[in-house]
């Protein structure tokens, strides 16, 4: 007996000490520990959930369907060029629905040539329609699937880029399900800016303004819905100093000449004249050449810089610009310019995202939750501890000791697993405290029963433990069942609760059975006890 007591005591001491190492970093005053400690021994503080440290939790849904639509449009464009090269005249080619292209050739005799050209486009299935000069092209299902997955992945990466530049510590950006992205920004100070930064599609396009935009009659027709071929209406929305929004319509040539993909850098600069910030862009080599060609061929026309289908500015081209540099000016505040530069650098989102959930917790609220939660837990613990001593006297003290070990190990375990502590998690710890002593209560009551029957303390203790063991096991398993289910189906804070409860229950099996028993065994071997303070 004595030997096993020694080993059990050592095991207990070891596990407690181990747990303590993991608990220490979260206690105030840890910084005084020397650097060698902080490097080689556990030094990470307990991770706090957003509800405790403040921050923002966003759930974004990627409009992957749009990505497919965009791709289909691009394919339509490529087919048009390919047909043009082979001199096949097209009467019409247009996207139908999400993943289909309907085309009509003007000369039925060119059908075979057309089919040949189309066979080069592996991702499209060609099917004839009732009309012999029409062909319906459908994007292969595998390709649509791939596009959607790619879109989500790209959005994730782009958003990650943007958030990285935003400067939040320990952001978390993870995919959820097929189309959702979860973004967690702990401790963020300007949630509004973050939301705009993340949600913006940020598609930058350069298009030429159609010269007829100054023609009142044409504009009137266009605004009524009769657009000249290959044109569209886009608006320039400006907000003046008073906050009034004005929208100026422009007649634009539809063709996108350059996009943000060709940008290698975007920096904020301050204009010398009015000290107003602007964003200076630099194109890559190919983009630079295209830009040079466009500006060279269209002097005196206006080139519009469009972000998300909104015209930022439409300056007149004064001369050919070979340098591959451009400027975006507008009424920016320093912050707006900075955010625009971030978004251009990180790139456009391949598909629009929608924010479907936004939970923001201010830091004061988080702090408040921590203090209330801790206070309630401490008071609860005090009540339980006091009751145990009062009701079970010395044995109650032993149980309380086991409870203390239990808590230390629980917090240590949370730290070790890098589990996140949330407010419900703190509640879980409080409940674990109440449930932890239950194991001891069951044992003690059984021991009391045996003592009443006249057994000796040692025999009562042994029988008590043996008989109570299975009941204790059962009760822990049932609590575990619900805790595990909660972990599976719950959201962040609930998961925190489930983790606290599960770990608490598991550790309790250990401390109650190994811990308390060891102490009792030790007590009975020391002296031949006639009575047991229970």
């Amino acid at each position: 007996m004595k030997k096993t007591i020694k080993w059990r005591a050592i095991l207990l001491a070891f596990t407690t000490a181990l747990a303590l190492f993991y608990v220490l970093p979260s206690l105030p005053g840890f910084d005084v520990f020397p650097t060698w400690w902080q490097e080689h021994l556990p030094h990470e503080k307990l991770k706090l959930g957003l509800d405790l440290q403040g921050g923002m939790h966003l759930v974004l849904e990627v409009d992957a369907d749009r990505a497919v639509e965009n791709a289909t449009e691009r394919w339509a464009g490529e087919i048009k060029s390919a047909f043009g090269k082979e001199k096949i005249s097209l009467e019409k080619i247009a996207r139908e629905g999400q993943d289909r292209i309907l085309l009509r050739i003007s000369k039925p005799e060119q059908r075979d040539t057309a089919s040949k050209v189309l066979s080069d486009f592996g991702v499209l299935d060609v099917s004839p329609t009732a009309d012999p000069s029409e062909m319906l092209l459908t994007l292969k299902p595998k390709e649509t699937k791939r596009l959607k997955e790619y879109a989500v992945r790209q959005c994730l990466e782009t958003i990650r880029n943007r958030v990285d530049q935003f400067g939040v510590s320990e952001p978390q950006i993870v995919p959820e399900g097929e189309r959702r992205i979860v973004v967690q920004l702990p401790g963020i100070k300007e949630p509004q800016r973050a939301v705009e930064l993340i949600g913006k599609t940020a598609l930058l396009e350069f298009k030429l303004v159609d010269e007829r935009t100054n023609d009142g009659k044409v504009m009137q027709e266009a605004l009524a819905g009769h657009l000249p071929p290959d044109t569209e209406i886009l608006y320039q929305r400006t907000t003046d100093a008073k906050g009034n929004i004005s929208s100026i319509p422009f007649l634009m040539q539809k063709k996108t000449l350059l996009t943000g993909d060709s940008i290698t850098s975007a920096e904020v600069q301050i204009g010398t004249e009015l000290n107003e910030p602007y964003v200076s862009l630099e194109f890559d080599r190919v983009g630079g050449k295209i830009f040079s060609d466009i500006t060279g061929a269209n002097v005196a026309r206006r080139l519009a810089i469009i972000l998300d289908n909104n015209i930022y500015s439409a300056p007149r081209i004064n001369e050919k610009i070979p340098s591959g540099k451009a400027q975006i000016t507008g009424r920016f505040t320093m912050e707006e310019a900075r955010d625009l530069a971030i978004v251009l650098r990180a790139g456009a989102l391949p598909a629009p995202v929608r924010i479907i959930a936004n939970v923001t917790v201010g830091p004061s609220l988080g702090q408040d939750s921590i203090s209330k939660g801790l206070r309630a837990t401490l008071v609860g613990a005090a009540l339980v501890v006091t009751f145990m001593i009062f009701y079970y006297r010395l044995s109650g003290v032993v149980a309380d000791f086991a409870l203390l070990l239990n808590i230390i190990m629980l917090i240590g375990a949370l730290s070790w697993f890098r589990a996140t502590l949330t407010l419900p998690g703190i509640a879980g710890i409080a409940l674990t405290i109440g449930m932890a002593v239950d194991s001891n209560v069951l044992m003690f009551e059984r021991i009391r029963e045996e003592l009443r029957l006249g057994k000796t303390p040692r025999s009562a203790i042994d029988t008590g433990y043996n008989k109570a063991f299975l009941t204790i096991l059962d009760s822990h398993v049932t609590t575990l069942i619900t805790a595990v289910v909660l972990f599976q189906f719950g959201t962040g804070p609930i998961k925190g609760f489930a983790v606290s409860l599960s770990l608490g229950v598991l550790i309790n099996l250990y401390t109650a059975l190994v811990g308390t028993k060891t102490v009792f065994d030790w007590m009975t071997t020391r002296s031949d006890m006639k009575t047991l303070s229970i």
Binding site: D51, E61, I355, I356, A357, N358, V359, T360, V361, G362, S364, L365, S369, K372, G373, R375, A376, T377, V379, G380, A381, L383, V384, F387, Y391, L423, P424, A427, A430, L431, I433, G434, M435, V437, D438, V441, L442, E445, R446, R448, L470, T471, D474, S475, T478, T479, L480, I481, T482, A483, V485, L486, Q488, F489, G490, T491, P493, I494, L501, I534
Partner: protein, 307 residues
């Protein structure tokens, strides 16, 4: 030894018909609550229904009525207003159907700025949940409850015999329904935390029931001669002390959370506290009582082999 109760000889099973009546009421209450939820008439949390919730801290104590007026003046739809014990803090909740307009959050802030002139406030926290999320969560919550109940049934049926398993599961069901009914009756917001409380108390109530069942099973082996209801009575009396004390310890912790834990945990701890009481009651008056009833019915059939 200090004992809360000495050797008791309460005839629990004798009173079981009163208990059935009480339990019947509780279960009906619970079913009513469930019905209300399914019909959409219950106060569901924002995470289930979708919508916007914003917690504001004003520069000083503020009258809820004035806030309501300010929102009404801005034509903002019927919103749920709650004031915290710290009277400068207000929680405004607007449910899904209305919150689909862009940025209800901005509208609320603008309305307050405009119509509650001079009162400064700070947004302490906000929840904006779209309807898609709510649907997913409702499903998850329902599944969680179903799987928990199945898990419980399977486990108890495995550890004890089938009768016990069913009785324990019914008792657990009873507890969850009772507390759900009370929460709906009190008009409490049914949030994911409340569902958590329901599931946790389900697990805990089972713990309590098992303590009693263990003793019943032990006595079934050693005291075969006694009629069942006498044996069950005896068993319950034997473990009464420990049933109450184990519940008491968790009750103390849960009560502490209720009084000191803050608003977020308030409904959760209320559910837990009431649940512990009901759980203890159900171990005696529902689970064990059902065993007696079941056996009494079985008695009329040809004698079956007792395990």
């Amino acid at each position: 030894m200090i004992e809360l109760l000495g050797k008791t000889k309460i005839d629990f099973m004798g009173k079981r018909y009163y208990a059935f009546a009480l339990s019947g009421i509780l279960v009906l209450l619970g079913l009513f609550g469930l019905l209300q939820i399914l019909r959409g008439h219950a106060n569901m949390g924002i995470e289930f229904s979708g919508g916007t919730a914003v917690q504001l801290k004003f520069d000083g104590p503020v009258e809820v009525g004035k806030v309501r007026e300010a929102l009404a003046k801005a034509n903002l739809p019927e919103s749920n207003l709650q004031q915290f014990s710290d009277t400068s803090r207000v929680l405004i909740r607007v449910k899904k159907e209305f919150a689909e307009q862009a940025r209800m959050l901005d509208q609320i802030q603008a309305a307050l700025k405009q119509h509650l002139s001079g009162r400064g406030f700070v947004v302490e926290g906000s929840d904006e949940i779209g309807p898609a999320i709510g649907k997913g969560l409702r499903k998850a919550a329902a599944w969680a409850v179903i799987i928990s109940i199945i898990g419980i049934l399977v486990y108890v049926a495995w550890r004890f015999e089938f009768r016990f398993g069913v009785a324990a599961t019914i008792a657990t069901f009873h507890d969850v329904l009772a507390i759900l009914g009370v929460m709906v009756l009190l008009g409490k917001e049914i949030t994911l935390l409340v569902v958590t409380a329901l599931l946790t108390l389900a697990g805990y109530s089972l713990t309590d029931t098992i303590v009693v069942f263990d003793r019943i099973r032990e006595n079934l082996r050693s005291r075969r001669k006694d009629p069942l209801h006498v044996l069950i009575n005896f068993s319950i009396n034997e473990v009464l002390s420990r049933t109450i004390v184990t519940s008491l310890t968790v009750f103390l912790a849960s009560l502490s959370l209720f009084f000191l834990g803050g608003e977020v945990l308030h409904d959760f701890s209320l559910g837990m506290s009431l649940g512990i009481i009901v759980g203890t009651y159900s171990s005696i008056f529902v689970a064990s009582a059902l065993l007696v009833e079941w056996h009494a019915q079985v008695r009329t059939k040809p004698a079956r082999k007792r395990r």
